[in-house]
Amino acid sequence: MRKILYVEDDPINALVMQRLLKSEFDVIHSPDGETCLLMLEKKNFGLILMDINLGKGKMDGVETMHQIKLNPETKDIRIIAVTSYALPEDRDRFLREGFDAYIPKPVERGALLKTIHQYLA
């Protein structure tokens, strides 16, 4: 099963994502940006789903995304922003920052799968 890395500080939302995608993907959870970077060194992931507001973590989702894109080893992994920042202008803001796609919360399984399949390497 293809592995997806999900960076999310809220454990309930992490559980939701794992369960929603259970039948098609193996969703590995990272609670913050720092852990995410460490996990990327050890394992290969086909795709990253990135929350933006990572709570107490030092890095937020945007910064973590930049770090991943800066590293030649990981720069080709597609990163999708999955966030509660869902005001009309947020979509443009995150795509401009460098995310490959944007999914607002609350997530809907159908739309989620469609986007993931579209961007999965």
């Binding site: 939302n13 939701v16 369960r19 929603l20 509660s84 869902a86 609350p106 809907e108 399984r109």
Partner: protein, 438 residues
């Protein structure tokens, strides 16, 4: 002296907020009062010297000045008085110049005095007018004298020593007083203006800060609400997938519908609140209207299909462009077409784009739905209102969509027109200013 001042101009001064105007009032009062006092002294001198033409002039002017003081007290206005004073002074100068062929040092000083006075009390236009009126006769007289023309019949009057002293002091006093008085008023006005500017600056900074806080607050609100709703709706979807019980499947579907509705309402309220906070932050760009309409109705095709409605888009054959905010306009079209589908049970929803007139493009959304009653029409664009007579449950929604649409379109410089007949359908028309490439 203060007693007289309070008596004649006390009330008037207190009712006048403008510092410069106050200065003018005090000035007029002082000039008239001091002149009146001087005239009394002159009167005594003339009477002592025996009858003289100046005596009549003196008495007439004295009476006039006293009348002026009472006029100011009664009318609380000095414009007419200023004109009158200018006229008297002008006449006095010209009588002296032409009737007695006398142009002397005093007249020159008085002329200067009059010009300054006219500019300060009556403004620039009157100032220039009176300057010319003063200058021309003096110039003509001087030229006439130079070329040997004798003007007037009288001999130049011989002024007594005491007259010279008093007149000279009076004229000097008036000039110094004029300039001193206005300078003081200007200084005061300058301080006031500086203070007002400071206050405005503080108020502006405060308003901007409040606006920033409000925008931040709303943005955080939105984030904090969506995070738990993701948990609720997400887990609801998980249960729907994992349960074998059809009953539970139905329950969680209902749960998702309620959750979605809650989310829509909250989003709409946030949108509405944000309009004011970000009114000035429109992201204007040139938009191809046909493309945008096509994109906005795309997500609604599913709903139309479910309700077995024909959703038809008839784009204008020519390219229509407008300078607008794409996100806002998308939301408005989506909302109005969404409403048309929501309130139509059979028939069709037709969307047309067209060039309305020289300056406006228009998006027309016509449905064959339940229509809007005449009674409800005036409340159509109010927040939280929905026409629901006995079918309150059949049309879900917060009743905020049209309120938001209206505010958005107004921000974008357009308007929304509505025509409807109960039970036959409604036509919404969005008018927007056209963009023409230079």
């Amino acid at each position: 002296m203060n007693f007289f001042k309070e008596y004649f101009i006390g009330d008037y001064l207190r009712s006048e907020p403008d510092i410069l105007k106050q200065a003018s009032i005090r000035l007029i009062y002082n000039i008239v009062a001091v002149s009146a006092c001087s005239l009394v002294i002159f009167f005594i001198i003339y009477v002592y010297k025996g009858f003289h033409y100046q005596l009549i002039k003196n008495v007439v002017i004295l009476a006039l000045f006293v009348a002026i003081l009472y006029y100011i007290k009664a009318k609380k206005s000095i414009t007419l008085v200023c004109h009158l004073l200018m006229l008297i002074s002008w006449l006095n100068n010209n009588i002296n110049i032409y009737l007695f062929d006398d142009f002397n040092f005093f007249i020159a000083l008085l002329t200067v005095c009059n010009i300054i006075f006219a500019f300060h009390t009556l403004g620039n236009k009157a100032g220039i007018l009176y300057s010319i009126a003063h200058f021309v006769p003096i110039m003509l007289h001087t030229l006439g004298k130079f070329s040997g023309v004798r003007i007037g019949s009288g001999q130049p009057q011989q002024l007594a020593f005491i007259e010279v002293v008093i007149t000279l002091s009076l004229v000097f006093f008036i000039i110094v007083y004029l300039i001193y008085h206005y300078h003081q008023a200007f200084e005061l006005a300058k301080i006031n203006i500086r203070k007002s500017v400071e206050e405005l600056k503080t108020a502006k900074e405060l308003a901007e800060e409040m606006n920033r806080l409000k925008t931040n607050f709303l943005s955080n609100m939105s984030h904090e609400i969506r995070t738990p709703i993701n948990g609720i709706l997400g887990l609801s979807q998980v249960i729907e997938m994992e349960t074998d019980s059809n009953e539970i499947k139905n329950y969680v579907k209902l749960q998702q519908r309620s959750g979605q509705r809650l989310l829509n309402t909250i989003t709409s309220i946030l949108d509405l609140s944000r309009i004011e906070a970000q009114g000035s932050q429109l992201k204007l760009k040139v938009i191809d209207l046909n493309n945008l309409v096509r994109e906005s109705i795309l997500p609604l095709e599913g709903l139309a299909k479910t309700k077995r409605l024909t959703l038809l888009f008839e784009p204008s054959s020519e390219k229509l462009q407008c300078l607008s905010d794409e996100t806002m306009l998308y939301q408005v079209i989506n909302n109005i077409v969404g409403n048309a589908i929501k309130f139509t049970d059979k028939g069709e929803v037709v969307i047309r784009t067209l060039m309305k007139d020289e300056t406006h493009v228009s998006i027309v959304v016509k449905d064959t739905g339940i229509g809007i009653s005449e009674e409800f029409m005036p409340r159509l664009f109010n927040s939280f209102e929905q026409e629901s007579t006995g079918r309150s449950r059949s049309h879900e929604g917060s009743g905020l969509g049209l309120a938001i649409s209206k505010k958005y379109i107004e921000l974008l410089g357009g308007e929304i027109l509505v025509e409807s007949k109960k039970d036959y359908g409604s036509t919404f028309e969005i008018l927007l200013p056209v963009y023409k490439a230079q």
